[in-house]
Subunit: 464 residues, 2 copies
Amino acid sequence: MDVNTELNTSRVATVMATIRQRIAGRNLTPGAKLPSVRAMAKASGVSTSTVVDAYERLVAEGVILSRPGSGFYVANQAAPFSLSDIGPKLDRAVDPFWVSRQSLEADDGDLKPGCGWLPPSWLPETGIRRALRTLSRADNRAFADYGSPLGLPPLRQHIARRMAERGVEASPDQIMLTESGTQAIDLLCRFLLEPDDVVLVDDPCYFNFQALLRAHRARIVSVPYTPSGPNIELFSQVVAEHRPRLYITNSAIHNPTGATLSPVAAHKVLKIADQFELTIVEDDIFADFEHTPAPRLAAFDGLDRVIHIGSFSKTLSASARCGFIAAKPEWVDALIDLKIATTFGGGRLSSELVYKVLSDGSYRKHVEALRSRLSEAMFNVSAKLKNLGIVPWLEPSAGMFLWCRLPGDVNAADVARAALERKIVLAPGNAFSLSQSAQNFMRFNVSQTLDARVFDVLRDTLRG
Amino acid sequence: MDVNTELNTSRVATVMATIRQRIAGRNLTPGAKLPSVRAMAKASGVSTSTVVDAYERLVAEGVILSRPGSGFYVANQAAPFSLSDIGPKLDRAVDPFWVSRQSLEADDGDLKPGCGWLPPSWLPETGIRRALRTLSRADNRAFADYGSPLGLPPLRQHIARRMAERGVEASPDQIMLTESGTQAIDLLCRFLLEPDDVVLVDDPCYFNFQALLRAHRARIVSVPYTPSGPNIELFSQVVAEHRPRLYITNSAIHNPTGATLSPVAAHKVLKIADQFELTIVEDDIFADFEHTPAPRLAAFDGLDRVIHIGSFSKTLSASARCGFIAAKPEWVDALIDLKIATTFGGGRLSSELVYKVLSDGSYRKHVEALRSRLSEAMFNVSAKLKNLGIVPWLEPSAGMFLWCRLPGDVNAADVARAALERKIVLAPGNAFSLSQSAQNFMRFNVSQTLDARVFDVLRDTLRG
């Protein structure tokens, strides 16, 4: 393939990716007409023949339909509803489900530098074993009966205290337990979104935000994330133009970048949210990893436009599912109804276990030890990655993620596919990027990147 | 109030209930025009002044709007989305959430003859305590790591064997664990329903089916349930007229009636489903209560149009949330994506616990003892209720529910409200009835109706 052909192939791929992305983000919905070949060529700065080539390939894939004399249209999705159908099909490696499924389906011996959680041996194993023994002697309601709709009162009180330490004031009656952080966002989407509402996410963002929003048939738009928060100028523009109903983001430690929201950025985001009546879901799932608390949107805002959520899956247990929503009092009752309708009694057993571990004196020590262990791993993994020419986008102040640029023009999806053949699950950048602009990036979970085999495989696959 | 005024008040209430019900079932959606006063009067067999009176009261409640010179319109629901707003407001006692919330929010000392579960002391307490101790010594992944997307393999194998005993053939790979039976239905609704699709339920049916379907903004239609299954003639008519996408029903033991589907009715339902391409969700949550297995739709159908679901909350634990979906192989992959998007890893801890209890040799003996205990309770409670003039609609062959007609013209919602003031949670019939035709009925859970205070309160409230 000569250079010109190669360049043209990459241009065709870019046009195809653009269209796929608009469909994935539901900016182009089934049945919608695509931009004309001429308009698309002009907008993309490519020739009309490149666009024709791209459109024809998408027709061959069944993504779009050609109606001679009329134009190109987004194909109707075959019922029943399939999330994967909506996403890009050609390159399964950048599907928002790819990392989740490969990580969750991995065999016990596989390595998972791409996964989003700690090895079980890093969690408070002794505390959980003790809590299970305590539960085995508890009142039978704890392990046999339904929980109350809001969830275990002492755990809600504990959460309220922890939130207060980070400046977020909420009474325990404003806190509703959920079956996970994911389910917390899911309930909020049901509560706040109408079909075809627009939702804003960071670019890059946690891939499952995208997956979940697709399940709600929301239209997704994104704004580039900077080391101190969203790019405020673009944030303002996108909010003004698309009038999103919701903005879903991480506080404290951003996934996947490890960035920290600055107080200035937090203030500006809230000002724009006020102006355009935007509701913000702040996912504080990484709170316990912080050495010093970063600003929380919910702390500035006082749970007015901001809904604060969290869970215990990152630092306590991913097996005992338990998350929470803290929201303004007038929303709690309707959220309870939704929780009952969709899950009935909630996971009492898990919340009993989580509370027992949290209130065990050893939990704070566990978390302190965990932070040191992560800092050390961050330092070591970062150095080893740099040796391979894999360079962190920033040095995070805490957490488990390193968001890295691969050397040269290497496509992260290709690397991830090659690594998977050698039983290593990686997290290619575009799985996190609505704009599909992170093909050269990769997220590493330092706690899962300590085995030398990871670097052997990376070295081999980067060499191509 | 003289007899004529009283009669007229009741006619006005009937017209109001009809309109509210159509709105609740989304047969009338926000903004839709109501039938003209004249048409409504004719259809309901009442005078036009009765309809005017009913419409005016609904305007006063904010349920509908009057546009002078044009007619009456369904009011737009205020955002954010609230399930309770959609339902009838005037009489909270017949809201599908009323029983759930009162039962789940009851204090420990309250009596709950209306709730849908067994007292914790009726569950396999010893087995659960033993399983918790075993878990406390297990591999750390069991209580600290995520589960696989389909869920714990040995539990899925166990479920496949149990289903086979009831004639339903499914490989463990067709079985996906969920966080509850409720979540199983919720995932299926997401998978199969488009907004405004029609869903068919039994009348009466488990109230949470209605609550869940409202959360999905489905239009709900219902068919009267007879002692041997749905009224087939009406089933056929309603399916032909409304073309529902789904029919959600209980197999084995019907909630709330305790009825059993006959083989003839099962066959006819499946024939109609075939003719009109109806998918059926068969909720087999009461399977372990049966003395002899009743026919399963999924057994006749072979998991083609029927999706079979269940959980362990009724006979094992309501605290350890774990349910399952058994569906045709080609649907499983998309269901996994939806499960990941909305709950991520699923509840591994609960499934580990459930599997340990199920595979403990003592579980079968527990279930046998439970059946005898329920039969005895059924016999005793039935006799005591009859003494009060409260007459079971049928004598169920198994299970915990007695669906009873109250004496005279007593309104079950009034009785339930009066009982609640005396700390007793009852389950008034209209909570189960889309057509609101069960105001004279009440569901009793015999396992929760053994305290003499229940009968004292019933006697007092029936006396008025």
